[in-house]
């Protein structure tokens, strides 16, 4: 995917989590709202075709056109299925009414979607990539300028998050298409994994670098540029606040890469209420704990993206 398209296109954020039910869709939707409320032009993209929810969270009963129409070639471009939402500056590309067999688009269809996302006329695109670690889900996550992994303080969520990160990391390595020589070195080192005491991607990279500088640098570059962020949702105890930072440290040790702790989102009973009312939480309760957390997240993301633009 060409770098030059990205610099003039929208900033893309992917919100995932591995596990279902951790609050990805609510966070994605309200992140979109927060960015729109700050004056940006935002597209919310529901890539969770098997379980599309964004239209409901925004109180849109089911837009006339959506991703399904693009996939079934009823329309030629994503721009045509972009529906205005009740929030000024925020439009939605909905996954509603996707037929059963569309939940797993083919590789070529997915690549087409990604190319078109990069060409959308907007400041930001927020992708809700859904649960699980299927290849399409991973590819949406890896495509983004910044992937955001949502976890809750619960072992099943943490476990799924690590599973997701491992899958994403290896998917990335494979998609980077290392040459034959590099593959040979990596293959050889991996066949000696036990003897070398390799227990993590970082160990693998160190061992490969010992064998061959070029191969090592290839892997190290992939690791360095793999920078998802971790967001801890439903924080209700002081202990939970440390979780994100600790996960970041564990990931740094394991992957050899800087995984960012993006912050915490407070547990808030008002979230349920806004969902039941089918209106964006940030429109109903902007000063609630959840509302303030999301605003802080949005500001932090904007600041980080300014910094990395300058690199």
């Amino acid at each position: 995917m060409s770098e030059s398209i990205r610099r003039t296109g929208p900033r893309v954020w992917a919100v995932g989590g591995g596990k279902g039910g951790v609050g990805k869709s609510v966070i994605a939707a309200n992140l979109g709202v927060a960015l729109a409320q700050s004056g940006q032009d935002v597209v919310l993209f529901d890539a969770d075709l098997g379980g599309a929810n964004l239209h409901t969270l925004l109180g849109m009963s089911g837009p006339r056109l959506g991703l399904a129409d693009f996939l079934s070639k009823r329309v030629a471009s994503l721009q045509e299925v972009r529906a205005p939402s009740p929030v000024v500056g925020l439009s939605l590309i909905s996954g509603a009414r996707a037929l059963h067999d569309m939940a797993n688009p083919k590789y070529s269809q997915k690549e087409k979607i990604l190319r078109q996302i990069a060409r959308l006329d907007a400041d930001h695109v927020v992708l809700d990539i859904g649960a699980g670690s299927a290849f399409n889900t991973l590819d949406f996550f890896l495509f983004a300028d910044r992937g955001i992994l949502v976890v809750v303080p619960d072992p099943t969520s943490i476990e799924n998050a690590y599973h997701f990160l491992k899958a994403a990391f290896y998917r990335r390595l494979n998609r980077a298409k290392p040459g034959e020589e590099i593959r040979e070195v990596v293959g050889r080192v991996m066949s000696e994994m036990k003897a070398r005491g390799i227990r993590s991607p970082r160990d693998l990279i160190d061992n490969v670098a010992d064998e061959d500088t070029v191969a090592g640098e290839f892997l190290a570059h992939q690791a360095r540029t793999f920078r998802p962020g971790i967001l801890v949702n439903r924080v209700s105890m002081p202990d939970h606040r440390r979780l994100g930072e600790q996960i970041g440290l564990a990931c740094r040790d394991y992957f050899g890469t800087e995984i960012d702790f993006l912050g915490c989102v407070d547990d808030d009973i008002l979230v349920n209420r806004s969902i039941l009312q089918r209106k964006a939480h940030l429109e109903l309760y902007p000063t609630s704990p959840f509302g303030r957390s999301i605003d802080t997240l949005a500001v932090g993301l904007l600041e980080r993206s300014e910094v990395s633009d300058g690199e």
Binding site: P155, S200, L243, A250
Partner: protein
Amino acid sequence: MANDQRLRDLRLLGLDAEADDADVLEAYNRRRALYDAENLAIYNLHSEESRQQLLADFEAALNRLTETPRRPKVMPKSPPPATLRPEPPGGPAPDRDSSPGAFLRYHRLARGISLTEVAFETKIGEARLEAIESEDSADLPAVYARGFVVTLANLLGLPDPAGLARAYVERIGNTSGEGQQG
């Protein structure tokens, strides 16, 4: 070689070459807490075996890094010998306590290091190294045996060199000779 080990240990703890003892201790303590069995933050990231090995590795790194005075680097008088990389070992590692010599040999071979290279680095004669690995060194006074095994373990980056040395002396039955080091 000693400097390489130091850099490896620092890197394991997420530190760079400028780190001082306080940094090392802080990094170690953070990891000790992080990799605690009960910690939700690492749930199922590592297998139990891996997690324990990691803790052992951190402890070994800490011990090596906070050892008192580092000897100044001595420039070798001649370049190290070129040797053929030995065959890697097959099968699982031998048990440390019942076959300490074989354990050393296994890990040396796993790292692709020849006896000639070890002799060059440690200044221990190749014949003596061979005897240590074959556990045919009962004639060696215990204090030397312990010292050599610790040196070899450090060279190979193995955890708990002191424990390995103890196991070695117990297994081989080296007599203590002067009996002072205990």
